[in-house]
């Protein structure tokens, strides 16, 4: 448990992606089965226990310490799990020997709901504070260490020197502690069989159009489609098993019972998940947010925001894998396929006719629907391959939204920018205070980076490690024009909004912060 707790704590405080990968890879290398597999399961959210409620933790700790001392402690620390992990009386057992994570997991899995408190107490009595913290976070379901399931899978891929999509393709057929997976990755066993029903197929991704790309390719070789602002999904229905996957292979079926009900086909579709009533009404990304990241979706929300898939591609047709066919053929099959489906739940992403790039450019900047965020270009003779090959698929986004925001905090960059403050948190006005609305770390030239860096150093108000807060007052500060792709409601941000893909588009040295945008300007974009 100690090593697992140590891994969690290091991941929590490490911001660099590479360092996180290294920490996970080392853990997989150093720990035996089943410990490493359970750690992986914890990081990918595959471990669950009949959950312990915060109220139970409070009750348990109140039986063990003075309520006033607990209140002082909790007020100071601010996090219940952490407070309890620290103030829990030692009992002198913790130093004896470490409890393996597997022991804790097995014990908690075997226990009945009524015995859970007793078992939890006996485990806490035998652990040291960091391990107690890890255990409490596990059983309360609040394990958040800044590692996505995707990143954990990337660490596995690096560990075994395989492509991450190989892991993703296998993932849903595997269960903790993944011993056969580790054996394969270490070259000690065969590749696990694809055991899942209705498995996920790694998706094909596009690259953004660069200035010179279009001059090198022939419009006749490509089909154009609108790029819809929803989330990319894969709907798979095989042998009676129905699953809806996110782009990274997360199973999101439970969140969309309405859609699953309509998946009465045999095959695998690639498309964009949207809400509304197709083809006319498509909800905004913010509407779609109402349906995302929820374990349980209220019926009312399901009725108000019905989900549907706008189909881009067909991967499995009946029991035939058609990924090896060229797009032109897959498209013909897709068009036939979609006609057999419920039109309220599945419709076809239309092909955009165009004569030349100038024509497409005109269409792109004035799309027929507000939920369109650009066009996709797909090579007609290309097969469906996993990953992001450059050439067959391009995305050509519509010009993004912009907002004038005020620089509030700056953080030191990484790698060759580590000598500069290059990560910026910016805010807009809400009443007469600034509220942060996003973070950007690119979009400026090296020369501009030097100018901003100098501004930050000359105007630092406070320092917190690598972060500085800078002067941001109505008549003194730096205004950044920030471009972004979309906006969503967010309960986690003080401002109530979260930006997608923000970047600095211009430095407005000329503009006083007082004239920067107000939060209302952003919230207006939500609807």
């Amino acid at each position: 448990m100690k090593r697992f707790a140590e891994l969690l704590d290091r991941l929590l405080l490490t911001s660099s992606r590479n360092a996180k990968l290294k920490l996970m890879i080392d853990h997989f290398r150093e720990m035996p089965d089943p410990e490493r597999g359970l750690a992986l399961a914890a990081l990918t959210g595959e471990l669950s226990f009949s959950s312990v409620k915060p109220a139970l933790l409070r009750t348990l700790i109140m039986e063990r310490m003075d309520a006033v001392l607990f209140t002082y402690s909790y007020d100071y620390v601010g996090d219940l799990a952490e407070t309890v992990s620290l103030v829990w009386p030692d009992g002198g057992l913790a130093n004896d020997r470490d409890i393996p994570l597997s022991y804790a997991v097995d014990t908690l899995h075997a226990v009945s709901r009524s015995d859970a408190p007793k078992v939890l107490v006996s485990l806490l009595d035998r652990l040291e504070p960091p391990s107690r913290f890890a255990l409490i976070k596990l059983v309360t379901g609040g394990l958040r260490v800044g590692v996505s399931a995707r990143l954990a899978k990337q660490a596995l891929a690096d560990f075994g020197n395989v492509e991450v999509h190989e892991i993703e393709e296998l993932w849903h057929g595997l269960t903790p502690p993944y011993e056969e997976l580790f054996a394969w990755l270490e070259g000690l066993g065969p590749k696990p069989e694809q055991a899942a029903f209705a498995p996920f197929r790694p998706v094909m991704l596009s690259t953004p159009v660069q200035d010179s790309d279009l001059s090198k390719i022939d419009p006749a070789d490509y089909a154009a489609e609108w790029k819809w602002d929803g989330i990319r999904v894969q709907a798979v229905s095989e042998n009676g098993v129905r699953r809806l996957y996110s782009r990274t292979g997360d199973d999101i079926s439970a969140t969309f019972p309405d859609l699953l009900e309509a998946m009465d086909f045999e095959g695998a579709l690639d498309g964009e998940l949207l809400v509304g009533t197709p083809p006319e009404h498509v909800g905004t990304f913010s509407d779609l947010q109402q349906r995302l990241n929820r374990k349980v979706v209220p019926m009312k929300t399901i009725r108000e925001y019905p989900a549907f898939v706008r189909c881009y591609d067909l991967l499995i047709d009946g029991d035939e894998d058609v990924r090896t066919l060229p797009l032109a053929e897959r498209r013909q099959r897709l068009e036939r396929f979609v006609t057999t489906l419920d039109p309220a739940r599945f419709d076809l992403s239309p092909i955009v006719d165009f004569n030349n790039w100038e024509h497409l450019e005109r269409l792109r900047v004035a799309p027929p629907h507000p939920i369109i965020e650009g066009v996709m270009l797909k090579r007609l003779d290309f097969t469906y391959v996993a990953g992001r090959p450059k050439g067959p698929w391009f995305k050509w986004k519509r010009d993004p939204h912009t907002v004038d925001a005020v620089l509030m905090y700056a953080q030191r960059g990484h790698g060759k920018r580590s000598g500069y403050y290059s990560d910026y948190t910016f805010g807009v006005w809400k009443g007469d205070e600034l509220v942060p609305v996003g973070k950007a770390y690119f979009g400026f030239t090296d020369e501009e980076l030097r100018q901003i860096d100098k501004f930050i150093r000359d105007n630092t108000v406070e320092r917190f490690g690598p972060v500085r807060s800078v002067r941001a007052e109505p008549d003194h500060g730096l205004v950044l024009e920030v471009a972004f792709e979309g906006l969503a409601r967010s309960a986690r941000h003080k401002s109530g909004v979260a930006m997608r893909f923000p970047r600095v588009s211009r430095l407005r040295w000329d503009k006083p912060p007082a004239e920067a945008d107000r939060l209302e300007a952003l919230t207006a974009m939500l609807d």
């Binding site: 140590e6 290294k22 006033v68 002082y72 402690s73 620390v77 620290l86 504070p129 490690g465």
Partner: protein
Amino acid sequence: MNPHKLLHPRPEGLYCPPGDFYIDPVRPVDRALITHGHSDHARSGHGHVLATRETLDIMAIRHGENFAGASQVAKIGEMITINGVRVSFHPAGHVLGSVQIAVELDGTRIVASGDYKRVADPTCAPFELVPCDVFITEATFGLPVFRHPRPEDEIARLLKSMTQFPERSHLVGAYALGKAQRVIRLVRDAGYEDTIFIHGALARLCDYYVSQGIDLGKLSPATIDRTAKTDFSGALVVGPPSAFADRWARRFPDPVAAFASGWMRIRQRAKQRGVELPIILSDHSDWDELILTIRQTGASEVWVTHGREEALVRWCELEGIKARPLHLVGYEDEGDA
């Protein structure tokens, strides 16, 4: 006698009227008894200072030779009488030369602990328990959440990180007096023999510790030497925490920011400071040490000085020990943690 007549707080610091002296005064006074060399306890400008040899040396290093009008060495365990008040100095285990000061008159003994810890520290003499009627305790980490782990385990995590990330430099923030030398000594005890690079602000105090017989191994200034092509890859660098937000820190490649402090027990504290590798290592008592010490002194009354006074006072009440906060001002909450 009423202990408040023997010692009580004044704006200048803790004052002894019959002896006419102060303990760790925060403003210049005629006669000061100093527990240890941390700057919030050992200020310059007093008429007469009584402290251990080490504390006087440290004050001279920090404030210059003329830090006081006159100075007098207090030997550990020796009884000194000042205007009829009996005074003795006992090791506090906090930093080199640190003491608790026992003050006694008419059968009443008060011990002013200054700052102290109970856990073994290879860079200073261990804490000595002095039974007393009134114990004046610090409370820097006076909350039940502060429970310092074993120092060796914390140092092991640092060394492990250095093997895990051999291309990155590891920057350890540690207060210049005591903590820095303790970190270096513990790293040596753990078997690390390479040169350790130190910030200029640590140089004189490290030299002084070495002159007092505390071997710190090979130290080298963390300055860029263009001819030697040293880029600090894989280096262990120790500096005062304040230096890490500075230009100075920018010379190190992709550094792992570490901070050796008792505050690092709280994840949010580490996060706020941008610390990637918290090293929970303190020269102050944790909660368990504080309450153990209060019990062991047998004191019937406890006065709580700087830090988180309310929790410790509450604990004393629950234990049936008379307790009150002294509300002394001028001591830093975070200063030498």
